[in-house]
C-alpha cells in the first residue's frame, strides 16, 4: 500500500516534495535531487512535461524514484495524450509499482517550449480521475473488465486562492466525486483562504496537502506574478523577498513560517524548492513538521 496514503489515513502530517525529469537521458541530476529530497518526504511528485516543456517522461522518472527506495507521485497531464495513451500509461504505471497518481489538466502548449504542438485535452482532469477510479475497480472507460486492474491512490490539484471561490469549490468537489482522495494545492500565500478551502473540502474526506513555493529570488516572485497566475504573491510577501539582503535566506525563513502555520489547518505540505533541494531539510526541521 502507498505509504503516502497510509500516513494520511493515519492522520500523520505528510511532506511531499517535487522532482523534475531531465531534458535528455542523463539521470544524474534527477538522482541527486531524489537522494536529497527522498529521505525528507513521504513521497515525491514527478512532473509530466511541466510548463508544457519537453522532459523525459514522468513514467520513467517515477520508476527511478521507486528504484532508489522512495515513493513517487506519478503525475499525468491531459495535454499530451489521448484517452487510449492515458489509459495505457496508467496500466503501465501500475505494473511498475507506482501507487500514487496525481491527475492535472496541464499547461497550454502555447506557453511552453513547443508552442506549435497540438494540445490534446481529449479528457479533462475530472474525466481522467473518473477513468482512473474505474481502473481501480478493474474496468476501462468502456466498462470492459481489465485483466488485472489498478489500485492507485488518486490525487488532484486545487487552487484555494483563486477567485471566484464558488467556481473553484464546485470544481474541486466534482474531482472528489470523480475519485480524488487527496489534493495538492498550488502555493499557498493566504492562510485564511486555505482554511476556507479546508473547511469546505474536508467533510468529503479528501486530504489536503498545501503547496509551499520557495520564493528564492525576486526573479521568481516576478515570474510567478507575471507568468503563472495574476498577482498571486501578495504585495507584503513580494516586498519581503525583494527588499531582503539575502533573498534566499528570507525565502527559507518565510517557508518555515508558512509550514508552521499550515500544520494546524492542512494534512500535509508539498514543498516546491525550485532547485534549492538542500533547504527542504531545514524547513522541515525548523517548522517542526518532521
Amino acid at each position: 500500500m502507498s505509504r503516502l496514503r497510509d500516513a494520511l489515513e493515519r492522520g500523520e502530517f505528510v511532506i511531499t516534495g517535487e522532482v523534475a525529469p531531465p531534458l535528455g537521458t542523463d539521470m544524474t541530476g534527477l538522482r541527486e535531487s531524489i537522494a536529497i529530497l527522498g529521505p525528507q518526504c513521504h513521497a515525491l511528485n514527478v512532473t509530466d512535461n511541466q510548463g508544457a516543456t519537453l522532459h523525459l517522461s514522468s513514467l520513467a522518472a517515477s520508476r527511478t524514484v521507486l528504484e532508489m527506495g522512495f515513493e513517487p507521485i506519478f503525475q499525468q497531464t491531459c495535454r499530451d495524450r489521448n484517452r487510449l495513451a492515458l489509459q495505457s500509461d496508467l496500466l503501465a504505471a501500475w505494473t511498475f509499482g507506482l501507487e500514487n497518481l496525481l491527475v492535472v489538466t496541464g499547461d497550454d502548449p502555447r506557453g511552453g517550449d513547443h508552442p506549435e504542438a497540438k494540445g490534446v485535452f481529449d479528457l479533462d482532469s475530472t474525466q481522467l480521475l473518473a477513468v482512473a477510479a474505474g481502473m481501480n475497480e478493474g474496468r476501462d472507460m468502456h466498462e470492459r473488465e481489465l485483466a488485472g486492474g489498478t489500485g492507485f491512490y488518486l490525487g488532484a490539484a486545487v487552487f484555494p486562492e483563486a477567485e471566484p471561490w464558488d467556481v473553484q469549490l464546485d470544481r474541486a468537489l466534482r474531482k472528489v466525486e470523480a475519485g480524488a482522495m487527496f489534493f495538492q494545492t498550488q502555493a499557498v500565500f493566504d492562510l485564511d483562504k486555505f482554511a476556507r478551502a479546508a473547511e469546505e473540502l474536508r467533510p468529503s474526506g479528501v486530504k489536503l496537502i498545501a503547496g509551499i513555493l520557495l520564493l528564492k529570488s525576486p526573479r521568481v516572485v516576478r515570474f510567478v506574478n507575471e507568468r503563472l497566475a495574476g498577482l498571486m504573491i501578495p504585495e507584503a510577501i513580494a516586498a519581503r523577498i525583494e527588499r531582503a539582503t539575502d533573498p534566499l535566506e528570507e525565502s527559507i525563513v518565510l517557508a518555515i513560517e508558512q509550514a508552521r502555520e499550515l500544520l494546524a489547518v492542512a494534512d500535509g505540505v508539498h514543498v516546491m524548492p525550485l532547485g534549492v533541494d538542500g533547504a527542504v531539510e531545514r524547513i522541515i526541521a525548523e517548522a517542526g513538521i518532521g
Binding site: 489538466t105 481529449d122 479533462d124 474525466q127 490539484a157 487552487f159 467556481v167 473553484q168 503563472l228
Partner: protein, 222 residues
C-alpha cells in the same frame, strides 16, 4: 462564416515560381472571403497588382458567387473559359473548400491564396470570433449557450483549469474564464450545473464529413 486570412505572399510567389507560371487567373469568393475582406474585389485587385509587380501577367479575374458551390464554380469557369485557357495557374482567394472546388472544375494548377482559420461569428463589421467547432455533439444545452469546447483555449468540458485567476483565463489573459461565465449565466437563469460533463464522443465527427439528403440523409460518422 468561414474566416480566412491572407497567405504569406512569399509562399504564393514560390508556388508560382515552382510551376513556372507566367500567366495567372485570379478567382475570389463572393461570400465568406468577401465579408472577411480577404477574397472580395479589393483583395483580388491587390493580388493582381502583386502578381504584375513580380513580372507576371494576369490572364483575368473574377469573383464567383460562392466558391465552394460546385455548380456555381463550374459555371464561373465556363464563363471565363477562354481566359483560363491562356493561364498557367489559377490563384484562388477563398477558403480551402473553395480552392478544392476550383481545382476540380479547372484543369490547371490551382493554388490557395488564403489560409482558412475558423468558423466565425460576425461580432460586428470586420470583427470575427470563433464560437463553434462543429464537433457533432452539442453541449450548449448544458453550458448555458456558451461552448467550452471552442471558447476555452484548452477545450475543457469541465473547468476552470488551475490557471484561472480572479475569474480570468490563464491562456488568453485579457478574457474572462469561460467556465466562470458559464456558471454565472446558469445561476442567473436559476439553472443548476449538471455535474461533470462526460468525455466527448469524437466519433460523432469523423473526417471527412458528408451528408447526402438524397440518399435518405446518409452521413459519415453516424
Amino acid at each position: 462564416m468561414i474566416i480566412t486570412r491572407p497567405r504569406d505572399w512569399a509562399r504564393v510567389e514560390a508556388n508560382l515560381e515552382e510551376i513556372g507560371a507566367r500567366r495567372v487567373f485570379i478567382m475570389g469568393c463572393g461570400q465568406c472571403a468577401t465579408v472577411a475582406k480577404t477574397g472580395g474585389e479589393e483583395e483580388v485587385l491587390q493580388a493582381k497588382a502583386a502578381i504584375e509587380q513580380s513580372g507576371r501577367e494576369v490572364a483575368g479575374w473574377t469573383i464567383g458567387e460562392v466558391a465552394c458551390h460546385e455548380g456555381d464554380t463550374k459555371l464561373t469557369a465556363r464563363k471565363h473559359h477562354d481566359a483560363l485557357e491562356t493561364a498557367d495557374a489559377v490563384l484562388v482567394l477563398s477558403c480551402g473548400a473553395g480552392v478544392q472546388t476550383v481545382a476540380d472544375a479547372v484543369d490547371k494548377p490551382v493554388l490557395p491564396g488564403l489560409e482558412s482559420v475558423f468558423l466565425g461569428n460576425v461580432v460586428r463589421h470586420g470583427v470575427f470570433e470563433e464560437r463553434c467547432q462543429m464537433c457533432g455533439e452539442c453541449v450548449l444545452d448544458l453550458t448555458a449557450g456558451i461552448c467550452p469546447v471552442t471558447t476555452c483555449p484548452k477545450g475543457l468540458l469541465n473547468g476552470p483549469c488551475g490557471g484561472m485567476w480572479e475569474g480570468m483565463c490563464e491562456v488568453l489573459t485579457d478574457r474572462e474564464c469561460i467556465h466562470v461565465l458559464i456558471r454565472r449565466r446558469l445561476s442567473a437563469q436559476r439553472r443548476v450545473a449538471s455535474g461533470s460533463l462526460a468525455p466527448k464522443d469524437f466519433s460523432k465527427k469523423l473526417k471527412p464529413g458528408s451528408v447526402n439528403l438524397r440518399a435518405g440523409r446518409k452521413e459519415t460518422g453516424r
